[in-house]
């Protein structure tokens, strides 16, 4: 059977791209190795929802997080800015007063990125881009220029004094990256994880986007493993599955990571050697384990201070699990899922005991599963356990994501496209890369 397009991998971006192409009358086949069970992490842009006519179930916990302080205190962070100010007031009057202004200024920057994220990455020297940045006004421009390269610790130290607040916010700067809050570029990551959220909410939502799309008619989904991408005279023309079956298609779209796509599934000989080397150097280290408990608890973050987070990071530089990790728990239908950061690729030691010790409410909970980066690579298809497929650092973001040569969703192999979280705008935003990739494909075809 011949398809117009074959989409490899079934992350949300792959599914979004598949359905957008199907809506334009293309015959699309999705080949996925496994169907992930968990809910999808990240803001789903309204364009994606609108274009596909989706009615999503979006988790909007209120408070969006309860931050634990070192001495066992609780700081509740609500969706309502005023109400959060009241919570903060018990820790610091000054921070309570600054909270609304902080929320407003971060939201202003987030709005800019919401636009940038729904386009192929802008050339930073492009005049239109420059004008758009100027549209932020003086305050916003200065905020943006200062914030982009900054360590999130400096940004938050400039604003606040309450450790639990800074820890809970700073965690979004280091989520899923092998850096500490004092590393440059983490303020950008903090902002990245705010994009799409309402003013004053600093946690990306979870949705059922993936399962909705998987149930949706119009695209054939097959569970199988792609062994090879077929290329002839510089053009992709299909894939070979692990059972040896060959499927032909003029367009092949990969939602899996670029290193595997270009260096393993396709023959790397099609790449310029310099580009092949650069693809091999894409950083994608996983840093977190996922622990599932059978007992339910509400959204809780254990990141009692920025120094705490920085110390948590120290061990992993030398290959050790954090003795005192950054933890983030959120409820699931089956119980509680805990994000445990930092761990090396082969996570060892009793992670569950550490989580139980630090998170009140899990003392007697039973462990359903513990997956370290190596397990997540196997179970979820995250390369080296990195859910964003390529670390979201400034040198691998925006028009550099995952490499400047691949940032327009195209590859040097004609007809082979990338659409996974390793492309702009990256993980933490669900479906935008798939959306942008589909637009680029349709534009080229028309």
């Amino acid at each position: 059977m011949r398809f117009h397009a074959i989409v490899i991998g079934a992350g949300v971006d792959a599914l979004v791209a598949a359905h957008l192409l199907a809506r334009r009358g293309r015959q699309v086949l999705v080949v996925e190795e496994r169907a992930p069970a968990s809910r999808d992490f990240g803001w789903v842009p309204s364009q994606v929802v609108g274009e596909l006519g989706l009615a999503l179930a979006v988790d909007a916990p209120d408070p969006w997080a309860t931050a634990l302080s070192q001495d066992g205190g609780k700081l509740e962070l609500w969706r309502d800015v005023r109400r959060t100010s009241d919570s903060i007031r018990r820790f610091s009057e000054r921070d309570a007063q600054r909270w609304p202004d902080f929320c407003r200024r971060m939201a202003a920057l987030a709005r800019l990125f919401e636009q940038l994220y729904l386009e192929t990455p802008a050339d930073p020297l492009n005049l239109r881009f420059a004008l758009r940045v100027r549209g932020l006004g003086r305050e916003g421009m200065v905020d943006l220029m200062r914030l982009l390269p900054m360590p999130v610790a400096e940004l938050l130290d400039d604003w606040f004094e309450c450790d639990a607040l800074k820890g809970a916010l700073g965690a979004m700067g280091i989520l899923n990256i092998r850096q500490g809050p004092r590393s440059s570029g983490t303020a950008f990551r903090f902002l990245h994880h705010h994009v799409g959220s309402p003013e004053g909410v600093f946690r990306p939502p979870r949705t059922d986007l993936g399962s909705r799309l998987r149930q949706r008619p119009g695209v054939e989904v097959r569970t199988s493993k792609v062994e090879k991408i077929l290329v002839k005279s510089g053009r992709a023309h299909g894939v070979v599955l692990d059972r040896g079956e060959t499927l032909e298609a003029a367009t092949v779209i990969s939602g899996i990571d670029p290193r595997r796509t270009l260096l393993e599934l396709a023959d790397p000989a099609w790449l310029d050697p310099e580009l092949a080397r650069a693809v091999g150097n894409i950083r994608r280290r996983g840093v977190a384990a996922r622990i599932c408990f059978d007992t339910s608890m509400k959204s809780t973050v254990y990141a009692p201070s920025l120094d705490y987070l920085e110390r948590a990071y120290d061990g992993v530089k030398y290959g050790r699990v954090s003795e005192r990790p950054y933890l983030e728990a959120h409820p699931t239908p089956q119980g509680t899922e805990v994000h445990f950061q930092y761990v090396p690729y082969e996570a060892n030691g009793d992670l569950a005991a550490t989580a139980r010790r630090l998170l009140p409410g899990l003392e007697n909970a039973q462990v359903a599963s513990i997956l370290g980066p190596a397990d997540l690579e196997r179970e979820e298809g995250w390369p080296e356990g990195q859910p964003y497929h390529a670390e979201l650092a400034l040198d691998q973001a925006l028009w550099m994501r995952p490499l400047p040569e691949l940032a327009q969703y195209r590859t040097p192999i004609q007809g082979l496209w990338l659409c996974g979280p390793a492309t702009h705008p990256g993980g933490g935003v669900a479906g935008a890369a798939g959306y942008n990739c589909a637009q680029a494909i349709l534009k080229e075809k028309n």
Binding site: P124, R146, D158, D307
Partner: protein, 529 residues
Amino acid sequence: MKKYDAAIVGGGHNGLVCAAYLARAGKRVVVLERRDRVGGAAMSEEVFPGFRFSVFSYVVSLLRPEIIRELELPRHGLHILPLESTLTPLREGAKAGDYLAQWNDHDQNRRELARHSPRDAEAYDEFGLELHQMARLIKPILAIAPPDPTSLHPRELVDLARLARMFRNIEKKKFNALWRLLTMSSAEYLDAWFEGETLKATKSASGIIGTMLGPRSPGTAYVLLHHYMGELDGVFRAWGFAKGGNGSVSAAIAAAARSFGAEIRTSAPVQEILVESGRAKAVVLEGGEEIRAGIVVSGADPRRTFLGLVGEKHLPGEFVESIRRFRFRGSSAKVNLALGELPDFTCLPGRGPHLRGAISISPSIAYLERAYDDAKYGEISRRPYMDIVIPSMLDPAMAPPGKHVMSIFVQYAPYHVNGGWTDARREALGDAVVDTLAGYAPNIKSAILHRQVVTPADIERVVGLSEGNIFQGELSLQQMFFLRPAPAWARYRTPVDGLWQCGAGTHPGGGVMGASGRNAALAILGGHA
């Protein structure tokens, strides 16, 4: 009362450069230096009888060649002696007792690198080419006054357009490579080039100098490039050492300034910059003497200038806020040793050409990162990174016959050390340095005749650099270019009319470049910098 066109606060090298350019243009200029000698952090002193040291800054390479040329510094006594090599001795791990040497001589260097890794020897030239290209892209930017991208003023827009054109003319590939350098850590950047741990560590070390960052911290790749800038113009190859110590750099600039008619007053501590109805009118010395001048140019760092000498009440609140959050966090110390004999390195015994170069204690990235880990939480590095030179090997006049001076640049010694800097802690730092060095050159302890330890607190106290930061403010991306030292005030002007800034706290920053002083002078003279 004599009236000057310009009074310059501080006789550091940037103040002197600025004075020289203004005087050369016919302005009546006075430089007011607090200490009894000029030079700021670029000065030589006979600390122990017969032993002369560049007490603070100790090598040159970044001093802008146009300054050397335009001010004719060689004629005024500047003489640079090149450092020929960098030796990294090894003591632990698989290569214990071995070393890595990098030589200025291309073939010798290649052979040595190939001894460790043929692949690295191959990659080295390509790496050098990329850094060279990047340095060439950055070079014109060093010499401009950064426009304010938020401004709508026609002049700023014209300059912005010019800057944009400059960048747009850069090949896209190079622009992206530059962006990577700006945002990556030196360790990650070097990982993509080399496999040899010691080579990567020694290269990455220039990315952490003067910063409160480790080699794995993003942003350090740029500092690496910043330190590479000197190798550019063929004026002097690689790092060099000024005959007579770094004080002779300042002395040469001062002599040039005087030859153009500038007046330089030492032991003239400025207490206040007098502002009347929003305009800088004069400087007031400790003791009350008032020196009136058409403009005042401050070579002191932004915190001292604005929060100290000018005073918050004369400044807009937003600007004060920016200066308050401008980060300094000094992390570097110096240990100066008077030696009865040369150090004898276990890995390369005896007196050899390696002693005429730099010696870098940077065996691995993890070693440097651990040194940083200590400092992150306010401790002195137990095993510090050290950059060592023996100036008396190149300039025998620095020490009595047969004896030597050794200059050790040390990181990390955080300004905000737990418990604050005390005499005991200063000595503890000295001991950590000597103990570490003794692990590589066991005779060092018995060779030491005198020891001087200079902490960031000492640098602040003696030279006046806030928090002992050797760059007058951290060289992080959010404190560079049009944000240095504050948004909208990066063009050497200040919110106070008639008050200008010319220190390393302005674009392009520190490292004995002199570029800030020159750019400021050109901006003052209305020339298009």
